[in-house]
Protein backbone atom coordinates (compact mmCIF):
# COMPACT_ATOMS: atom_id res chain seq x y z
CA UNK A 1 0.00 0.00 0.00
CA UNK A 2 1.44 3.39 -0.97
CA UNK A 3 1.44 6.39 1.36
CA UNK A 4 -1.15 7.93 -0.99
CA UNK A 5 -3.51 4.96 -0.50
CA UNK A 6 -2.92 5.10 3.23
CA UNK A 7 -3.78 8.79 3.27
CA UNK A 8 -6.97 8.17 1.26
CA UNK A 9 -7.88 5.50 3.82
CA UNK A 10 -7.20 7.86 6.72
CA UNK A 11 -9.37 10.57 5.15
CA UNK A 12 -12.20 8.07 4.60
CA UNK A 13 -11.96 7.05 8.24
CA UNK A 14 -12.14 10.65 9.47
CA UNK A 15 -15.08 11.39 7.12
CA UNK A 16 -17.02 8.50 8.63
CA UNK A 17 -16.04 9.16 12.23
CA UNK A 18 -17.09 12.82 12.18
CA UNK A 19 -20.59 11.84 11.13
CA UNK A 20 -21.17 15.10 9.25
CA UNK A 21 -21.05 13.65 5.77
CA UNK A 22 -24.00 11.86 4.24
CA UNK A 23 -22.19 8.73 3.15
CA UNK A 24 -24.67 6.74 1.05
CA UNK A 25 -25.01 3.09 2.10
CA UNK A 26 -22.60 0.90 0.21
CA UNK A 27 -20.44 3.81 -0.97
CA UNK A 28 -16.76 3.01 -0.85
CA UNK A 29 -14.82 6.23 -0.33
CA UNK A 30 -12.01 6.35 -2.90
CA UNK A 31 -9.69 9.09 -4.07
CA UNK A 32 -12.29 10.02 -6.70
CA UNK A 33 -15.06 10.64 -4.16
CA UNK A 34 -15.99 14.33 -4.22
CA UNK A 35 -16.39 16.10 -0.87
CA UNK A 36 -19.26 18.40 -1.84
CA UNK A 37 -21.08 16.45 -4.52
CA UNK A 38 -20.76 12.90 -3.18
CA UNK A 39 -20.43 13.39 0.58
CA UNK A 40 -22.66 16.51 0.79
CA UNK A 41 -20.14 18.37 2.92
CA UNK A 42 -20.71 22.14 2.82
CA UNK A 43 -17.74 24.50 2.94
CA UNK A 44 -17.87 24.80 6.72
CA UNK A 45 -18.12 21.05 7.22
CA UNK A 46 -15.09 20.61 4.95
CA UNK A 47 -13.15 23.07 7.11
CA UNK A 48 -14.14 21.20 10.28
CA UNK A 49 -13.17 17.90 8.81
CA UNK A 50 -9.84 19.22 7.55
CA UNK A 51 -9.25 20.54 11.07
CA UNK A 52 -9.58 16.98 12.38
CA UNK A 53 -7.04 15.80 9.79
CA UNK A 54 -4.66 18.65 10.66
CA UNK A 55 -4.76 17.55 14.29
CA UNK A 56 -4.27 13.90 13.45
CA UNK A 57 -1.21 14.56 11.29
CA UNK A 58 0.04 17.58 13.26
CA UNK A 59 -0.19 19.88 10.25
CA UNK A 60 -1.39 23.37 9.46
CA UNK A 61 -3.14 23.71 6.11
CA UNK A 62 -3.76 27.32 5.06
CA UNK A 63 -7.43 27.87 4.23
CA UNK A 64 -6.79 29.19 0.73
CA UNK A 65 -5.20 25.88 -0.27
CA UNK A 66 -8.54 24.18 0.30
CA UNK A 67 -10.25 26.10 -2.49
CA UNK A 68 -8.66 23.79 -5.07
CA UNK A 69 -9.72 20.63 -3.25
CA UNK A 70 -12.64 18.84 -4.89
CA UNK A 71 -11.97 15.14 -4.31
CA UNK A 72 -10.56 12.97 -1.54
CA UNK A 73 -7.51 12.45 -3.79
CA UNK A 74 -6.91 16.22 -4.02
CA UNK A 75 -6.98 16.41 -0.25
CA UNK A 76 -4.67 13.39 0.15
CA UNK A 77 -2.09 15.01 -2.16
CA UNK A 78 -2.35 18.31 -0.27
CA UNK A 79 -1.83 16.64 3.11
CA UNK A 80 1.07 14.51 1.84
CA UNK A 81 2.73 17.60 0.37
CA UNK A 82 2.55 19.36 3.72
CA UNK A 83 3.79 16.33 5.61
CA UNK A 84 6.88 16.20 3.36
CA UNK A 85 7.65 19.91 3.60
CA UNK A 86 7.19 19.83 7.32
CA UNK A 87 9.46 16.87 7.95
CA UNK A 88 12.05 18.37 5.57
CA UNK A 89 11.93 21.64 7.52
Amino acid sequence: MTEYDEMVGAIAEVVRSLGKAEVPAGLVITDETRLADDLKLDSLAVMDFVMALENRFDLVIPMDELTEVVSVGDLARLLLGHLKTQSAG
Binding site: D42, M47, N55
Partner: protein, 409 residues
Protein backbone atom coordinates in the same frame (compact mmCIF):
# COMPACT_ATOMS: atom_id res chain seq x y z
CA UNK B 1 -26.41 33.37 -12.87
CA UNK B 2 -28.81 32.31 -10.11
CA UNK B 3 -28.57 28.57 -10.76
CA UNK B 4 -25.85 28.17 -8.13
CA UNK B 5 -28.27 29.33 -5.46
CA UNK B 6 -30.71 26.47 -6.13
CA UNK B 7 -30.05 24.68 -2.85
CA UNK B 8 -30.18 27.94 -0.88
CA UNK B 9 -33.45 28.78 -2.63
CA UNK B 10 -34.86 25.40 -1.68
CA UNK B 11 -33.72 25.66 1.95
CA UNK B 12 -35.08 29.21 2.28
CA UNK B 13 -38.38 28.04 0.78
CA UNK B 14 -38.64 25.29 3.40
CA UNK B 15 -38.01 27.79 6.21
CA UNK B 16 -40.66 30.19 4.91
CA UNK B 17 -43.23 27.44 4.42
CA UNK B 18 -43.48 27.11 8.17
CA UNK B 19 -44.91 30.62 8.57
CA UNK B 20 -43.23 34.02 8.80
CA UNK B 21 -39.83 34.68 7.21
CA UNK B 22 -37.29 34.61 10.07
CA UNK B 23 -34.78 36.49 7.95
CA UNK B 24 -37.18 39.18 6.77
CA UNK B 25 -39.11 40.27 9.85
CA UNK B 26 -40.04 43.94 9.44
CA UNK B 27 -41.09 45.87 12.52
CA UNK B 28 -43.79 48.42 11.66
CA UNK B 29 -42.75 50.44 14.65
CA UNK B 30 -40.14 50.14 17.38
CA UNK B 31 -41.48 51.91 20.45
CA UNK B 32 -38.79 51.17 23.03
CA UNK B 33 -35.59 49.09 23.38
CA UNK B 34 -37.78 46.12 24.30
CA UNK B 35 -41.03 46.57 22.36
CA UNK B 36 -41.91 46.72 18.68
CA UNK B 37 -45.20 46.51 16.80
CA UNK B 38 -46.02 44.24 13.88
CA UNK B 39 -49.51 44.30 12.35
CA UNK B 40 -50.91 46.20 15.32
CA UNK B 41 -49.54 43.70 17.87
CA UNK B 42 -46.93 44.35 20.53
CA UNK B 43 -43.82 42.19 20.18
CA UNK B 44 -41.34 41.72 23.02
CA UNK B 45 -37.87 42.21 21.56
CA UNK B 46 -35.57 39.50 22.84
CA UNK B 47 -33.03 39.35 20.04
CA UNK B 48 -31.66 42.81 19.24
CA UNK B 49 -28.17 42.96 20.87
CA UNK B 50 -29.37 46.18 22.50
CA UNK B 51 -27.52 45.16 25.66
CA UNK B 52 -27.73 48.41 27.57
CA UNK B 53 -31.02 49.55 26.02
CA UNK B 54 -29.48 52.84 24.89
CA UNK B 55 -31.33 53.19 21.55
CA UNK B 56 -33.93 55.43 23.17
CA UNK B 57 -31.72 57.18 25.73
CA UNK B 58 -33.04 60.78 25.75
CA UNK B 59 -29.50 62.18 26.10
CA UNK B 60 -28.30 60.26 23.01
CA UNK B 61 -31.36 61.29 21.00
CA UNK B 62 -30.89 64.95 21.99
CA UNK B 63 -27.20 64.90 21.04
CA UNK B 64 -27.93 63.17 17.73
CA UNK B 65 -30.75 65.56 16.98
CA UNK B 66 -28.58 68.58 17.71
CA UNK B 67 -25.78 67.23 15.47
CA UNK B 68 -28.30 66.48 12.73
CA UNK B 69 -29.44 70.10 12.73
CA UNK B 70 -25.95 71.53 13.00
CA UNK B 71 -24.05 69.35 10.55
CA UNK B 72 -26.71 67.89 8.25
CA UNK B 73 -27.81 64.36 7.38
CA UNK B 74 -24.55 62.93 6.07
CA UNK B 75 -20.92 63.65 5.30
CA UNK B 76 -21.09 62.59 1.62
CA UNK B 77 -17.48 61.53 1.69
CA UNK B 78 -14.83 59.20 2.99
CA UNK B 79 -12.58 59.81 5.97
CA UNK B 80 -9.53 60.59 3.84
CA UNK B 81 -11.41 62.98 1.54
CA UNK B 82 -14.09 65.34 2.80
CA UNK B 83 -15.69 63.00 5.37
CA UNK B 84 -13.67 63.75 8.52
CA UNK B 85 -15.37 66.27 10.80
CA UNK B 86 -14.12 67.37 14.19
CA UNK B 87 -16.63 64.90 15.69
CA UNK B 88 -15.00 61.89 14.02
CA UNK B 89 -11.59 62.83 15.39
CA UNK B 90 -13.10 63.52 18.80
CA UNK B 91 -14.85 60.13 18.77
CA UNK B 92 -11.55 58.43 17.97
CA UNK B 93 -9.92 60.11 20.96
CA UNK B 94 -12.92 59.08 23.07
CA UNK B 95 -12.63 55.42 22.00
CA UNK B 96 -8.88 55.44 22.69
CA UNK B 97 -9.37 57.04 26.11
CA UNK B 98 -12.24 54.70 26.99
CA UNK B 99 -10.08 51.67 26.24
CA UNK B 100 -6.85 53.14 27.59
CA UNK B 101 -5.13 52.91 24.19
CA UNK B 102 -2.88 55.28 22.34
CA UNK B 103 -4.86 55.45 19.07
CA UNK B 104 -8.20 54.46 17.61
CA UNK B 105 -9.66 54.45 14.12
CA UNK B 106 -13.39 54.69 13.53
CA UNK B 107 -14.98 52.79 10.66
CA UNK B 108 -18.48 53.08 9.25
CA UNK B 109 -19.49 49.60 10.47
CA UNK B 110 -18.01 46.89 12.67
CA UNK B 111 -17.88 44.59 9.66
CA UNK B 112 -15.75 47.14 7.82
CA UNK B 113 -13.44 47.47 10.83
CA UNK B 114 -12.61 43.76 10.63
CA UNK B 115 -12.33 43.85 6.85
CA UNK B 116 -9.95 46.80 6.89
CA UNK B 117 -7.83 45.77 9.86
CA UNK B 118 -7.38 42.07 9.10
CA UNK B 119 -6.88 42.45 5.37
CA UNK B 120 -4.32 45.22 5.87
CA UNK B 121 -2.38 44.28 9.01
CA UNK B 122 -1.45 40.76 7.98
CA UNK B 123 0.58 40.72 4.76
CA UNK B 124 1.86 38.10 2.35
CA UNK B 125 4.30 36.26 4.62
CA UNK B 126 2.21 36.64 7.75
CA UNK B 127 -0.12 34.12 9.42
CA UNK B 128 -3.61 34.75 10.72
CA UNK B 129 -4.88 32.31 13.34
CA UNK B 130 -8.65 32.60 13.72
CA UNK B 131 -10.89 30.98 16.30
CA UNK B 132 -13.08 28.58 14.30
CA UNK B 133 -16.31 30.22 15.54
CA UNK B 134 -15.25 33.69 14.43
CA UNK B 135 -17.81 36.09 12.99
CA UNK B 136 -18.21 36.24 9.20
CA UNK B 137 -16.54 39.67 9.10
CA UNK B 138 -13.34 38.15 10.53
CA UNK B 139 -13.33 35.42 7.90
CA UNK B 140 -14.08 38.01 5.21
CA UNK B 141 -11.24 40.27 6.33
CA UNK B 142 -8.86 37.31 6.45
CA UNK B 143 -9.86 36.18 2.97
CA UNK B 144 -9.50 39.67 1.54
CA UNK B 145 -5.89 39.95 2.62
CA UNK B 146 -2.86 38.04 1.42
CA UNK B 147 -1.78 36.37 4.69
CA UNK B 148 -1.91 32.64 5.20
CA UNK B 149 -5.04 31.83 7.23
CA UNK B 150 -5.61 28.95 9.62
CA UNK B 151 -8.46 28.36 12.09
CA UNK B 152 -7.96 26.76 15.47
CA UNK B 153 -10.59 24.84 17.42
CA UNK B 154 -13.07 27.13 19.11
CA UNK B 155 -11.81 28.31 22.52
CA UNK B 156 -9.03 25.72 22.46
CA UNK B 157 -5.70 27.29 23.52
CA UNK B 158 -4.01 23.89 23.08
CA UNK B 159 -4.90 23.72 19.40
CA UNK B 160 -3.79 27.35 18.97
CA UNK B 161 -0.43 26.53 20.60
CA UNK B 162 -0.03 23.44 18.41
CA UNK B 163 -0.59 25.46 15.26
CA UNK B 164 1.85 28.17 16.33
CA UNK B 165 4.41 25.45 17.03
CA UNK B 166 3.99 23.97 13.52
CA UNK B 167 4.37 27.46 12.04
CA UNK B 168 7.37 28.32 14.24
CA UNK B 169 10.00 27.99 11.49
CA UNK B 170 8.06 29.92 8.88
CA UNK B 171 8.86 33.57 8.24
CA UNK B 172 6.43 36.40 8.93
CA UNK B 173 4.37 37.65 11.87
CA UNK B 174 1.50 35.77 13.54
CA UNK B 175 -1.77 37.44 14.46
CA UNK B 176 -4.20 35.58 16.74
CA UNK B 177 -7.83 36.66 16.37
CA UNK B 178 -10.49 35.94 18.99
CA UNK B 179 -13.77 37.43 20.13
CA UNK B 180 -14.67 38.53 23.65
CA UNK B 181 -18.15 37.09 23.67
CA UNK B 182 -19.17 34.74 20.87
CA UNK B 183 -22.42 35.84 19.33
CA UNK B 184 -24.17 32.53 18.78
CA UNK B 185 -23.81 30.76 22.16
CA UNK B 186 -22.67 33.66 24.33
CA UNK B 187 -19.51 31.91 25.50
CA UNK B 188 -16.38 33.89 26.34
CA UNK B 189 -12.84 33.31 25.09
CA UNK B 190 -10.27 31.82 27.53
CA UNK B 191 -8.36 35.06 27.12
CA UNK B 192 -5.78 34.58 29.89
CA UNK B 193 -4.61 31.29 28.41
CA UNK B 194 -4.58 32.75 24.91
CA UNK B 195 -2.64 35.79 26.11
CA UNK B 196 -0.06 33.49 27.73
CA UNK B 197 0.42 31.65 24.40
CA UNK B 198 0.73 34.97 22.66
CA UNK B 199 3.50 36.02 25.06
CA UNK B 200 5.35 32.72 24.75
CA UNK B 201 5.28 32.70 20.96
CA UNK B 202 5.76 36.38 20.21
CA UNK B 203 2.53 36.53 18.24
CA UNK B 204 0.21 39.53 18.08
CA UNK B 205 -3.29 39.35 19.54
CA UNK B 206 -6.50 40.97 18.30
CA UNK B 207 -9.70 40.78 20.35
CA UNK B 208 -13.06 41.64 18.81
CA UNK B 209 -15.20 42.99 21.65
CA UNK B 210 -18.32 43.44 19.47
CA UNK B 211 -20.61 41.73 22.00
CA UNK B 212 -18.56 42.35 25.14
CA UNK B 213 -17.91 46.10 25.03
CA UNK B 214 -20.10 47.80 27.62
CA UNK B 215 -21.13 44.35 28.83
CA UNK B 216 -18.11 42.71 30.49
CA UNK B 217 -15.48 44.11 32.84
CA UNK B 218 -15.87 46.17 35.96
CA UNK B 219 -16.05 49.37 33.94
CA UNK B 220 -17.60 47.86 30.82
CA UNK B 221 -14.38 47.85 28.82
CA UNK B 222 -14.97 44.28 27.70
CA UNK B 223 -13.41 40.86 28.20
CA UNK B 224 -9.88 42.32 28.08
CA UNK B 225 -10.69 44.24 31.26
CA UNK B 226 -12.53 41.30 32.84
CA UNK B 227 -9.60 38.96 32.16
CA UNK B 228 -6.98 41.55 33.16
CA UNK B 229 -4.89 41.16 30.00
CA UNK B 230 -4.77 44.76 28.77
CA UNK B 231 -1.03 44.77 28.04
CA UNK B 232 -1.12 41.51 26.09
CA UNK B 233 -3.67 42.70 23.55
CA UNK B 234 -2.31 44.51 20.52
CA UNK B 235 -5.54 45.41 18.73
CA UNK B 236 -9.09 45.85 20.00
CA UNK B 237 -11.91 45.80 17.47
CA UNK B 238 -15.50 46.61 18.29
CA UNK B 239 -18.78 48.04 17.18
CA UNK B 240 -21.09 50.89 18.15
CA UNK B 241 -24.14 48.93 17.00
CA UNK B 242 -24.74 46.80 20.08
CA UNK B 243 -24.25 48.14 23.61
CA UNK B 244 -23.84 51.68 22.23
CA UNK B 245 -27.14 51.47 20.39
CA UNK B 246 -26.02 53.10 17.15
CA UNK B 247 -23.80 52.02 14.25
CA UNK B 248 -20.09 52.09 13.39
CA UNK B 249 -16.91 50.17 14.16
CA UNK B 250 -13.46 50.83 15.54
CA UNK B 251 -10.01 49.45 16.08
CA UNK B 252 -7.76 50.68 18.90
CA UNK B 253 -4.08 49.98 19.53
CA UNK B 254 -0.99 51.13 21.41
CA UNK B 255 1.39 50.39 18.56
CA UNK B 256 3.31 53.29 17.06
CA UNK B 257 2.54 53.38 13.38
CA UNK B 258 -1.06 52.24 13.82
CA UNK B 259 -2.19 55.59 12.44
CA UNK B 260 -0.71 54.72 9.05
CA UNK B 261 -3.49 52.21 8.50
CA UNK B 262 -5.67 55.21 7.67
CA UNK B 263 -3.81 55.34 4.37
CA UNK B 264 -3.79 51.59 3.81
CA UNK B 265 -7.07 50.08 5.04
CA UNK B 266 -9.36 50.15 2.04
CA UNK B 267 -12.64 49.74 3.94
CA UNK B 268 -11.69 52.90 5.87
CA UNK B 269 -10.55 54.84 2.81
CA UNK B 270 -13.18 54.01 0.25
CA UNK B 271 -16.52 54.41 1.99
CA UNK B 272 -18.47 57.35 3.34
CA UNK B 273 -17.86 58.23 7.00
CA UNK B 274 -20.46 58.04 9.77
CA UNK B 275 -23.16 60.75 9.77
CA UNK B 276 -22.55 63.39 12.48
CA UNK B 277 -25.79 62.44 14.26
CA UNK B 278 -24.48 58.88 14.68
CA UNK B 279 -21.13 60.16 15.96
CA UNK B 280 -22.95 62.31 18.52
CA UNK B 281 -25.14 59.44 19.78
CA UNK B 282 -22.10 57.16 20.14
CA UNK B 283 -20.19 59.82 22.12
CA UNK B 284 -23.17 60.09 24.44
CA UNK B 285 -23.34 56.30 24.67
CA UNK B 286 -19.75 56.20 25.99
CA UNK B 287 -20.68 58.85 28.56
CA UNK B 288 -23.67 56.77 29.67
CA UNK B 289 -21.59 53.61 30.04
CA UNK B 290 -19.30 55.54 32.37
CA UNK B 291 -22.05 57.33 34.26
CA UNK B 292 -24.40 54.38 34.74
CA UNK B 293 -22.65 51.24 35.98
CA UNK B 294 -26.11 50.18 37.20
CA UNK B 295 -27.00 49.38 33.56
CA UNK B 296 -24.32 46.68 33.53
CA UNK B 297 -25.48 45.36 36.89
CA UNK B 298 -29.08 45.22 35.65
CA UNK B 299 -27.99 43.50 32.42
CA UNK B 300 -26.09 40.93 34.40
CA UNK B 301 -29.07 40.27 36.71
CA UNK B 302 -31.40 40.04 33.70
CA UNK B 303 -29.10 37.61 31.89
CA UNK B 304 -28.87 35.40 34.97
CA UNK B 305 -32.66 35.45 35.39
CA UNK B 306 -33.49 34.34 31.83
CA UNK B 307 -30.67 31.81 31.77
CA UNK B 308 -31.79 30.27 35.09
CA UNK B 309 -35.45 30.12 34.04
CA UNK B 310 -34.72 28.39 30.74
CA UNK B 311 -32.15 26.05 32.30
CA UNK B 312 -34.75 25.08 34.94
CA UNK B 313 -37.16 24.25 32.12
CA UNK B 314 -34.68 21.71 30.81
CA UNK B 315 -33.48 23.47 27.68
CA UNK B 316 -29.93 22.93 26.50
CA UNK B 317 -28.21 26.34 26.63
CA UNK B 318 -24.74 27.78 25.99
CA UNK B 319 -21.88 27.09 28.41
CA UNK B 320 -21.73 30.54 30.07
CA UNK B 321 -24.31 32.78 31.73
CA UNK B 322 -24.20 35.87 29.53
CA UNK B 323 -26.67 38.27 27.91
CA UNK B 324 -26.76 35.90 24.94
CA UNK B 325 -29.03 33.01 25.90
CA UNK B 326 -29.43 30.44 23.15
CA UNK B 327 -31.70 27.41 23.21
CA UNK B 328 -29.82 24.69 21.32
CA UNK B 329 -31.80 22.36 19.09
CA UNK B 330 -30.62 19.60 16.82
CA UNK B 331 -33.49 19.72 14.35
CA UNK B 332 -33.68 22.80 12.09
CA UNK B 333 -37.34 22.17 11.16
CA UNK B 334 -38.28 22.07 14.83
CA UNK B 335 -36.34 25.28 15.43
CA UNK B 336 -38.25 27.02 12.62
CA UNK B 337 -41.60 25.85 14.04
CA UNK B 338 -40.58 26.96 17.54
CA UNK B 339 -39.48 30.37 16.25
CA UNK B 340 -42.81 30.89 14.46
CA UNK B 341 -44.79 29.89 17.52
CA UNK B 342 -42.84 32.42 19.58
CA UNK B 343 -43.45 35.24 17.12
CA UNK B 344 -47.16 34.39 17.06
CA UNK B 345 -47.10 34.58 20.86
CA UNK B 346 -45.48 38.05 20.68
CA UNK B 347 -41.84 37.14 21.39
CA UNK B 348 -39.10 37.97 18.91
CA UNK B 349 -35.86 35.98 19.17
CA UNK B 350 -33.25 35.25 16.50
CA UNK B 351 -33.34 32.02 14.58
CA UNK B 352 -29.89 30.78 13.64
CA UNK B 353 -29.51 27.76 11.41
CA UNK B 354 -26.52 25.75 10.17
CA UNK B 355 -24.06 26.40 8.62
CA UNK B 356 -23.99 29.75 10.44
CA UNK B 357 -23.98 28.01 13.83
CA UNK B 358 -21.40 26.13 15.89
CA UNK B 359 -21.52 22.35 15.66
CA UNK B 360 -24.32 22.43 13.10
CA UNK B 361 -26.96 23.10 15.74
CA UNK B 362 -30.07 25.22 15.28
CA UNK B 363 -30.45 28.03 17.78
CA UNK B 364 -33.22 30.15 19.19
CA UNK B 365 -30.99 32.99 20.22
CA UNK B 366 -32.13 35.53 22.78
CA UNK B 367 -30.19 38.61 23.73
CA UNK B 368 -31.10 40.21 27.01
CA UNK B 369 -31.12 43.99 27.56
CA UNK B 370 -30.69 46.05 30.71
CA UNK B 371 -33.98 47.63 29.62
CA UNK B 372 -35.94 44.39 30.07
CA UNK B 373 -37.97 44.20 33.25
CA UNK B 374 -37.99 41.01 35.31
CA UNK B 375 -41.70 40.76 34.46
CA UNK B 376 -40.93 40.80 30.72
CA UNK B 377 -38.22 38.17 31.08
CA UNK B 378 -40.39 35.96 33.28
CA UNK B 379 -43.23 36.17 30.78
CA UNK B 380 -40.87 35.35 27.91
CA UNK B 381 -39.41 32.37 29.81
CA UNK B 382 -42.93 31.10 30.61
CA UNK B 383 -44.01 31.33 26.95
CA UNK B 384 -40.78 29.74 25.67
CA UNK B 385 -41.21 26.93 28.21
CA UNK B 386 -44.88 26.34 27.38
CA UNK B 387 -44.21 26.13 23.64
CA UNK B 388 -41.12 24.04 24.28
CA UNK B 389 -43.20 21.58 26.30
CA UNK B 390 -45.85 21.38 23.60
CA UNK B 391 -43.13 20.61 21.07
CA UNK B 392 -41.56 18.06 23.42
CA UNK B 393 -38.35 20.04 23.89
CA UNK B 394 -38.60 21.38 27.45
CA UNK B 395 -39.11 19.37 30.61
CA UNK B 396 -37.52 16.22 31.99
CA UNK B 397 -38.08 14.17 28.83
CA UNK B 398 -36.63 16.95 26.70
CA UNK B 399 -33.43 15.34 25.51
CA UNK B 400 -35.11 12.06 24.61
CA UNK B 401 -37.98 13.81 22.82
CA UNK B 402 -35.64 15.93 20.81
CA UNK B 403 -33.43 13.09 19.74
CA UNK B 404 -36.59 11.23 18.75
CA UNK B 405 -37.70 14.16 16.59
CA UNK B 406 -34.25 14.40 15.05
CA UNK B 407 -34.09 10.73 14.30
CA UNK B 408 -37.54 10.81 12.73
CA UNK B 409 -36.69 13.78 10.57
Amino acid sequence: MFGKFASLHEAYGRVRQAGADPFGVAFDEVVSPTTARIGGRDILLLGTNNYLGLTFAPEAIAAASDALHRYGTGTTGSRIANGTYAGHAELERRVARFLGRRDAMVFTTGHQANLGILATLAGREDHLLLDADSHASIYDGARLGSASVTRFRHNDPGDLARRLRVLADKPGDRLIVVEGLYSMLGDVAPLREIAAIKRETGAYLLVDEAHSLGVLGERGRGLIEAAGVHDDVDFVVGTFSKSLGSIGGFCASDHAGFDLLRLAARSYMFTASLPPSVVASVMTGFDLIDQRPQLRAQLSANAARLHAALAASGFRLGPSVSPIVSVRLRDPALAVTFWNRLLSAGIYVNLALPPATPEGESLLRSSVSAAHSFAELDRAAAIITAIGQELGIAGPQAAAAESYVSAAD
